[in-house]
Symmetry: C4
Subunit: 283 residues, 4 copies
């Protein structure tokens, strides 16, 4: 996995010995014993707190258990506050952590509860806590899922330019068809402005088709049919790009260093190095 | 086909001789003469009983032929009861069968009719009988479709970790976009709670787009467009994963080193090396 | 292209000499001079007659040009009648042609106009004429599109068993989810019967999502989410099957007969026959 | 990239020396210093003018800033007019440029503003300016995205015949199913004419499913289910075609026979045969 990662916390420990070094290991590492257990507990706490936020949004449940949810929310807020302070305490550069991607999310996920003491209602912002769920991908490193995920992300990374060109083509089509439908159908048929038409063009081209806005004139329906056929065909492009890259990644190149020149990868059935011709060792 | 199978009935026969051994063969084996015929008849009976349940749910047909359907239902129930008792009688460990996946379904598919004598209306539960249709896949072993199905399931099995990572990514996006749309659009636009928003996010991201809930604010439409583009692109991921695995499965190259020149991979049906012509060893 | 074709008119000519043999060539062959011109003219006539049927169905156009459309219709009917009679006249076994797939369509496409003299209104059946459009695929043989089409159909043919297993799995899921949603949502939410629920399940699983029927209960929305995720993932299966087969077809095997044993296809870089080891000729 | 390109402006300069030659370089070339800067500025101007057209279509913004948008529009029109005249001045054959694809778009994108002085309201035609956005793809040549885009277009080009056959099959199905649904459902259920039914068939088959027209009769729902299953399966065809071509493009094997053992295909960067180690000839 040589692709880019979500900006990690490449933050050194505050100390090499003592409790700060030990806790740095527990909090920021993911591999063994206590740090593994810490990660799993954190994961459970994050998912539980997210579930509480989700359930609290259901008006029926809020009416009945709103007070209990409120208490649990405070419990998780205090817990995450303690965790946040601990993270600040054990890293070498607390500010660098505080400004990192995960550092900002960690802070944002506890602020709303405190703010709600001053500004009633700001509690709704607690949904930000949901972003903490992204930490799951980080904790996945614990498990054997790294390789699978790595392969998926590698293929995505190798295909990034093709995907960018594809997205540019999609956006160009969206602008052109959005403007065309705005002129053809007009505000009286629901295409109230070009941005709304562009929203409709995305919904249509990606074969979602909500049906909140639909063409009513024959010409509009003709143009829509054209857009749909293009969208139906274009779905082949990201799929093709991604599949081809993934297949290229799966095609087993043998990782065997050439004893002559050191070239590290050869075709599965290669007997000799394709660079210097030296005989390769048996696998 | 080395992947996992639906937990089979690896249950020995109750006896090695006599009618129980013979009937064990007929009921639990699928290959030859009488057991093949038994399976086909069972299949016909299951599909016929499912069709009766389906037709009986149509109010027009129920009004006219409800009594006949009721009679047929009892007929199938008695038939399946006899089959269930026969299965219990001929296996070595009746309890193990009764608690197996298919054993539970077999029981559940006959219970509702008997229950309806005590509790009128519980007959609606008969739709459970539909699950018996899963036996079709088991009976497929009869036919030449095993290899095709096995290849599909093998590829699925090899890709299971990548699929799990993909589903986790989808669910994370669903939670984040669901919460965001709940905050942006709010209950007045149909996003009545985070769970409902999450349902909407799944409907949108998978390009289903019922249109029962749609964004009405400009910001909501922008976020929706983003979600749709992500979903439109992400459909490439399961497709890519599955295609790459399937293609790897189809490319049947035999890993056998040529004794002459050592070339390591040859076509599945090669007898001689395609490079030097030396005879290849039997696999 | 070794796959199966649409049942052709493998009908011998009625005579080996004279006008019948010549017209047999013109009508039933597709390759050269006059038979090629005949096919192109027939194609134009079929498409023109289909366009007239389509335009005549638009009430506005029917009101204005209905009489003209009616006249053109009779013109095409007489033309196609003459063609039909000519076909009958020049083949060896007229009955065999009359009962062939294209023979029946040819007859059905002229009958409605005559019938409309006796039964007013039966003219609507003229849309059957649209099926004549299938002849286009036959005429494609004229053009260089044969190879492209042949490759697509070959891959489809090789994948037919996998596709059958896939369709069986889809139908099983449709029955199970259809029945489940009928029980969960019930007639009051639009799921009026199991067949209607099955229709909804197909619409949902294939990510069409009309929105004419939508789940309203929380449990129904949960089950729907599950069905959608399955459908979103399952779209990978036909794509994967087809892509893998097509890729296998594209992977250039060299068509060179082995001088030793005659095996006709070898890997692109094969020097010696993989069967007998004889040296292959340079490409 | 040997596929066809959007018809370029292969127009020689008007002069080999002097300001016209210099400006020809700046305007029509894309590679270095000033011509690169000119392209980037043009791109920014095009995107800005498109954004103004888009924003001006929103009635709320038009009411508030309509006059400012009008002024900016005139600014861009004058700018693009100057650019258009400059292009005419520096090319050898001004007429050939004026009639080229981009030449026509360049003219159409400035005309509406002038027309609006004579015919009030013709300003809405300014959306044509959006087509200038296509120039982006031309400017992409500046960046390293050429290769990625080239590969995507190459695969599309190689697959063009298969795509044509596929589109023909889709259109045939659309005509047949459209006509069938018109007969089955009829105008009273929204299928008011065969063209409308064909629009519905495209919307359904491509899994868009607006829901503006839906089948209401049982037979119509059955036929719809069939159409959906066909469409769900057929999405595999363009994807399969495109993926297979793209994968074939990615697999860069060099066709060079080894002088030692004759093995015919080697990896793109191989210097020596992977079987016998003999040095390969330069390509």
């Amino acid at each position: 996995m040589n692709g880019p990662r979500l900006s990690g916390e490449n933050l050194g420990p505050a100390a090499t010995h003592g409790w700060r070094a030990r806790w740095f290991h527990i909090i920021f590492h993911h591999e063994r014993g206590p740090s593994r257990r810490f990660d799993l507990m954190l994961m459970v706490a994050i998912i539980a707190s997210v579930i509480v936020v989700i359930l609290d949004s259901v008006s029926g449940l809020h009416a009945r258990w709103g007070r209990i949810f409120y208490a649990i929310e405070w419990g998780f807020t205090l817990l995450f506050t303690a965790e946040y302070l601990a993270r600040l305490a054990v890293v070498k550069h607390p500010l660098r952590y505080a400004r990192s991607f995960y550092g900002v999310i960690d802070l944002l996920s506890i602020l709303p509860t405190y703010l709600s003491l001053l500004l009633p209602g700001s509690q709704a912002l607690l949904v930000v806590r949901i972003l903490r769920i992204l930490r799951i991908f980080r904790v996945l490193k614990l498990m054997e899922y790294t390789e699978a995920g790595g392969m998926l992300i590698d293929a995505l990374y190798r295909a990034r330019r093709k995907i960018a060109v594809f997205l540019l083509a999609v956006l160009t089509l969206v602008v052109i068809f959005g403007a065309a439908m705005y002129v053809i159908e007009g505000p009286e048929n629901g295409f109230t402005s070009i941005p709304v038409s562009m929203y409709w063009a995305i919904v249509t081209m990606a074969t979602v088709g909500f049906g909140d806005i639909t063409p009513l004139t024959p010409l509009g329906q003709l143009v829509t049919s054209l857009l749909i056929l293009i969208g139906y065909g274009m779905i082949a492009v990201p799929t093709g790009i991604y599949t081809a890259e993934l297949a290229a990644g799966l095609r087993q190149r043998r990782k065997v260093a050439c004893p002559g020149c050191g070239l590290a990868e050869h075709e599965a059935d290669a007997l000799r190095c394709r660079c210097c011709g030296a005989e390769l060792l048996a696998p």
